[in-house]
C-alpha cells in the first residue's frame, strides 16, 4: 500500500497503533476503567516543494488513494516550503518494553494498593493509573522502513487530609516498577498539617521538589525547540553559547533513556533518536532540531522531529552533589512541593508566574516552622535557572497533568525567588 506514495518527491508515512488503559479513582474508590484502541496513519507528502500533511484513521488502500487524490488537488494552491528528511540509521534501542502495562488485574491491584497506602495517613485520595502500549512503523522516501514498540505506565495520586494535600507520581516503562508506595509518601506529606499561614510578598530562597521543578523544566524543554525559538515562543532566541542558567545546571534531551517513558527508536522522520545536550554547565549548547530546522540553522538534526516543530523526548536534568536532605537542611525560606497553572506574560523574555499547589512550608535552617498558603512564584524563567544553587543527587522521573513531557528531575534550591500573594 505504501508504494502508492512513490509518486511524491518526498514522503514520510507513520503508522501508530496505540492501546491505552486507565484506572481512575476518587474519594478512595475506583470509579471507572477506560480503554482506548486507536490506529492512525500520518502522512507528510511533498511534490515540487509543496507539502501537505494528512492523517487517516484505520487506513486501507481506498482511504489512502482518496488521501493522495486530495493531496494532489490541494498542492496546486500551495507555495513551496522547505522539507528535509534526514537519514541516520544508528538506532540505539536499549529501552525496556513491558506488555503487562495493559494487564487489567495487575493495574487494578496496583491502583488498590496505592489507595490503601494513601489512606494509612491520608483521609481522601484521588488519581489515575495508566498503561499504554504503542507500535510505530515508519516508511519514507529515503528508503527507511523501521518499526518500534513502546510501553509506559504512570501513577498519579493526590492525598488529602483536612485542609492539606500532597501529590506524588511514579512513571516507568514497566508496570512492576510503578511504586504504589508513592500513595504512602503523599499521605505522609499531606499529614504534616502544621497550621498554614500566609507569608509576606518578597524574595525567598525556595526548594522545589522534583514534581514542582519538573513543571518549569518541561516549559524550558519546549522553549528549546528551534520552532519555538523562530515563532516567538521562547526566551532562548540569540542565546546560543550564552549563559542561560547557573553553572550547576546541565539539561539534556534523550530519546534513548532506558526507562524514559517517551523514549523512541526514531523520530517522526525516521532519524535515530539520541541524547542531546541543551544546557551544559549553564551554557546553551543546542536547540532541538528536525532536519528542516537544522538546515535553516546550519547544524545537524538532533533526532527530535516533529515534522513542523521539534519535540523533546525525555528531559534529563543532571543530578547535583547534594543529598535531598542537604538541599532541604540548608533552606531559610520556602519548600514548594508542587506547581500548577504556569503562564507566561512574554515568552521571549521568560516572564511568568505559577501557583504553588498542595502543601508548602516555611522553614528556617532547614526546620519547618509552618505550612504556607496562597503563594505563587512571579518571576522570570531565565532568572530562576540562573539562581539555582543546589541540585540533589536523587532524580525522579516525573510525568503528569502539569508536566506534559517526562523530566528526570532532582530537588532544586533557588536563591531569591520572587514570591507574590493575593
Amino acid at each position: 500500500m505504501i508504494n502508492l506514495l512513490d509518486k511524491f518527491d518526498k514522503f514520510i508515512a507513520r503508522e501508530i497503533e496505540r492501546r491505552s488503559k486507565q484506572i481512575r479513582f476518587y474519594k478512595n474508590r475506583i470509579e471507572v476503567i477506560k480503554e482506548w484502541k486507536i490506529k492512525v496513519l500520518e502522512l507528510t507528502l511533498s511534490k515540487n516543494g509543496k507539502v501537505v500533511g494528512i492523517s487517516i484513521e484505520n487506513a486501507n488502500r481506498d482511504k489512502l488513494e482518496k488521501a493522495i487524490e486530495n493531496a494532489d488537488k490541494v498542492m496546486k494552491y500551495l507555495s513551496p516550503i522547505p522539507l528535509e528528511i534526514g537519514v541516520d540509521e544508528n538506532y540505539i534501542n536499549k529501552k525496556t518494553f513491558d506488555k503487562n502495562v495493559l494487564d487489567n488485574e495487575k493495574l487494578l491491584s496496583k491502583a488498590e494498593e496505592a489507595i490503601n497506602y494513601a489512606l494509612e495517613k491520608g483521609k481522601e485520595t484521588a488519581g489515575t493509573l495508566y498503561g499504554i502500549v504503542e507500535k510505530i512503523k515508519i516508511w519514507n522516501s529515503e528508503g527507511i522502513e523501521q518499526s518500534d514498540r513502546n510501553s509506559m505506565a504512570y501513577l498519579s495520586i493526590r492525598v488529602f487530609k483536612e485542609n492539606s494535600s500532597a501529590h506524588e507520581v511514579s512513571c516507568s516503562r514497566k508496570l512492576e516498577k510503578i511504586d504504589e508506595k508513592v500513595g504512602r509518601y503523599a499521605g505522609e506529606l499531606a499529614n504534616m498539617t502544621k497550621e498554614a499561614k500566609k507569608v509576606k510578598e518578597g524574595t525567598y530562597d525556595v526548594v522545589l521538589s522534583p514534581l514542582a521543578f519538573s513543571n518549569l523544566i518541561s516549559y524550558f524543554s519546549s522553549f528549546s525547540s528551534a520552532f519555538a525559538v523562530d515563532a516567538g515562543f521562547s526566551f532562548l532566541k540569540n542565546k546560543m553559547g550564552k549563559k542561560v542558567a547557573n553553572e550547576c545546571i546541565s539539561i539534556r534531551d534523550s530519546g534513548i533513556e532506558r526507562d524514559g517513558i517517551f523514549s523512541r527508536k526514531f523520530d517522526d522522520e525516521g532519524v535515530a533518536t539520541r541524547e542531546t545536550s541543551i544546557v551544559e554547565n549553564g551554557i546553551l549548547k543546542n536547540y532541538l532540531h528536525n532536519s528542516t530546522t537544522a538546515k535553516k540553522y546550519g547544524v545537524k538534526t538532533t533526532g527530535n522531529a516533529g515534522i513542523i516543530s521539534p519535540v523533546s523526548w525525555n528531559t534529563l536534568v543532571m543530578p547535583g552533589d547534594y543529598n535531598k536532605e542537604e538541599v532541604i537542611d540548608e533552606i531559610n525560606g520556602l519548600i514548594i512541593t508542587n506547581l500548577w497553572y504556569t503562564r507566561f506574560h512574554n515568552y521571549m523574555t521568560g516572564d511568568f508566574s505559577t501557583v504553588a499547589r498542595d502543601i508548602a512550608f516555611y522553614a528556617k535552617n532547614g526546620e519547618i516552622l509552618h505550612a504556607v498558603k496562597g503563594i505563587r512564584i512571579s518571576d522570570n524563567l531565565e532568572r530562576i535557572l540562573k539562581n539555582i544553587v543546589a541540585l540533589s543527587k536523587e532524580v525522579k522521573q516525573i510525568y503528569w497533568w502539569e508536566t506534559e513531557n517526562p523530566v528526570f528531575c532532582p530537588y532544586a534550591m533557588v536563591r531569591n525567588a520572587r514570591i507574590t500573594t493575593a
Partner: protein
C-alpha cells in the same frame, strides 16, 4: 450499528457515540506556510454503567468491534464504586448548524493578507476548521444526530523596539467561513501594533492602589475561572480533585449571597454561532441557559447526570466530551450578564486606578480562590479620565474579595473563544468567555 450496541448490552445503562471529525489546520509563521494538514477521525465510544463505569473507545466502527467494546466495557464496569444517573427525559432529534469551508487557497490568501500587515515583525497565525458529526444513543431511549462546523484563528504578535512586547488574540465561532470577515482581524492587528508601540514608548508604572476596571476580555476569563469552574458539580464532589482540582463551592452555597447585587453570571450553550454552541449535550440532555449567579446569589451549579443524581437534582446538560473521551461536566459560553453602566459612567468617579483591557498571563489556584491577571493593554485612570498607558499592571485577588468589591457592571457584553482544559486524559473543549466592564474598588495593583 449504534442500535446493535444497545441490543447486545446486558448492563443497566449503556450509551454509544459514533463520531466523525474532518478538520483542516494551517500554520503560518513569519510569512511562511509551515504546514497545511488535514485530519479525519472516525470512531466510537461506548460507556457502560453497572456498579462503576466501563468506557471503551475504538476507531474501528464495525459490529464485531462494537460487540468486543460492549463486552469489555461491561466487564470493566463491575467495580466497587456505585455510580448512578439522574432520571431524565429521553430525546430523539436531529440538529445541524449551517456552515461550509472553501478550498484551501482562499484560506491561505486570507491569512497571507493578515500576515503582510505584520511583515516587519515576528508573528504566528494558526487557523483551523472542522466539521463534527455525531450520532448519540443510550439505553434510556435517546437518539440524537448532530452536525456542527467550527472555525478558529489565533495570532501571536511580537514586536522588538528596545523592549520586546507580545500580544495574542483568538477568534472563533460555531459556523462556517462566512463568519471570518465579521471578526475584523485586520482591525485588531492594527490596534495591537499601534498599542504595543505606544506601550514601549510611553508605558508607565501604575499606581500601587486604587480602583480597577477590568474589560470584557478579562472579566470573561474571570467568569470562566472563578465562577464557571468552581460551579462544576463534579469538581465540587471531588471527581476532578487529582488533576483539575476541587472547588471553594459546596452544596451549602446554593441560595446564599455570594457577590454584590450587580453581579449575575450565566452559562448558555444555546447562543447562536457561539464557539461553545450545542443543542444537546453528550448525554442526550436538551441544552438550556444556566444562571449560575443571579443578582449576587448562587443559583445553580453545572451538572451532568451523575452529579445531578448525587446532588438530588436534574442535569442541566453540561456533559461534554471531545473525540474518544468520556463526557464530563463542562462549561459552554460563560459570561457576566450586562449591567446598566456605560464605560464613561464607570470611570467618571475613579480618582486613581487602572483600566485593564487585555492580558497575557493569568492563573488561579486549584480551588479557584487565589487568582492573578496581568494587563498587556492597560491604561492609567486619574480623576475620572484615561490618562496614560500602564506598563504591565497586575492584580492578585481572592475570588471572594473580587465579587465583594465589584460594584458596577457595564452594559456592553462581548464574547471571546477559548479552549478549556479539564479531565484526565486532558480534554480541550471549545468554549467562549463573555465579559462586560467590571469595576472593583480599592485593590492592590502591582
Amino acid at each position: 450499528m449504534a442500535e446493535y450496541a444497545l441490543n447486545i448490552a446486558r448492563a443497566k445503562y449503556v450509551e454509544i457515540r459514533i463520531e466523525r471529525r474532518e478538520g483542516n489546520e494551517i500554520l503560518y509563521v513569519n510569512g511562511e506556510i509551515k504546514s497545511v494538514d488535514f485530519q479525519e477521525n472516525y470512531g466510537m465510544t461506548i460507556r457502560v454503567i453497572d456498579n462503576g463505569v466501563g468506557f471503551c473507545f475504538s476507531n474501528v466502527v464495525s459490529k464485531r468491534e462494537i460487540k468486543k467494546c460492549v463486552e469489555r466495557a461491561e466487564k470493566m464496569a463491575k467495580l466497587q464504586k456505585k455510580v448512578r444517573l439522574s432520571d431524565e427525559k429521553a430525546h430523539e432529534d436531529k440538529w445541524y448548524l449551517k456552515g461550509d469551508f472553501p478550498v484551501v487557497d482562499e484560506k491561505i490568501d486570507f491569512i497571507k493578507s493578515l500576515d503582510e500587515m505584520l511583515k516587519e515583525h515576528q508573528r504566528v497565525f494558526s487557523y483551523n476548521d472542522e466539521i463534527v458529526e455525531k450520532l448519540y444513543m443510550n439505553s434510556d431511549g435517546s437518539k440524537i444526530y448532530s452536525k456542527i462546523p467550527r472555525i478558529y484563528l489565533y495570532y501571536l504578535l511580537t514586536i522588538h523596539n528596545g523592549k520586546v512586547e507580545q500580544m495574542h488574540r483568538e477568534f472563533g465561532n460555531a459556523g462556517g467561513w462566512e463568519l471570518i470577515r465579521k471578526w475584523r482581524v485586520d482591525k485588531n492587528i492594527l490596534h495591537d501594533l499601534s498599542f504595543l508601540s505606544d506601550l514601549i514608548k510611553k508605558g508607565e508604572k501604575a499606581p500601587s492602589k486604587g480602583d480597577v476596571i477590568l474589560g470584557p476580555y478579562i472579566t470573561g476569563l474571570i467568569a470562566h475561572e472563578s465562577c464557571g469552574h468552581p460551579f462544576e458539580a463534579d469538581r465540587i464532589l471531588g471527581r476532578e480533585s487529582a488533576q483539575a482540582g476541587k472547588s471553594y463551592a459546596t452544596e451549602k452555597l446554593l441560595g446564599k449571597k455570594f457577590a454584590n447585587e450587580c453581579i449575575s453570571i450565566a452559562d448558555n450553550p444555546t447562543l447562536p454561532n457561539s464557539y461553545g454552541y450545542y443543542k444537546y449535550d453528550d448525554e442526550g440532555i436538551k441544552a438550556r441557559e444556566r444562571i449560575l449567579i443571579k443578582e449576587g446569589v448562587v443559583n445553580e451549579f453545572l451538572h451532568n447526570r451523575q452529579t445531578a443524581y448525587e446532588m438530588n437534582c436534574k442535569s442541566n446538560a453540561s456533559a461534554r466530551a471531545t473525540y474518544g473521551k468520556e463526557p464530563i461536566v463542562r462549561m459552554a459560553n460563560t459570561y457576566f450578564m450586562p449591567g446598566d453602566y456605560s464605560l464613561e459612567e464607570i470611570i467618571e468617579d475613579i480618582k486613581e486606578g487602572v483600566y485593564m483591557v487585555t492580558y497575557m498571563e493569568w492563573n488561579i489556584d486549584d480551588v479557584r480562590i487565589n487568582q492573578k491577571y496581568v494587563g498587556e493593554e492597560a491604561y492609567i485612570i486619574r480623576n475620572g479620565e484615561i490618562d496614560g498607558i500602564a506598563y504591565h499592571p497586575s492584580i492578585e485577588i481572592s475570588t471572594f474579595e473580587f465579587y465583594k468589591k465589584a460594584d458596577a457592571a457595564g452594559e456592553k457584553l462581548q464574547f471571546y473563544p477559548a479552549t478549556c482544559g479539564k479531565g484526565d486524559p486532558m480534554q480541550g473543549i471549545e468554549v467562549s468567555t463573555g465579559g462586560v466592564d467590571i469595576r472593583i474598588r480599592d485593590v492592590r495593583i502591582k
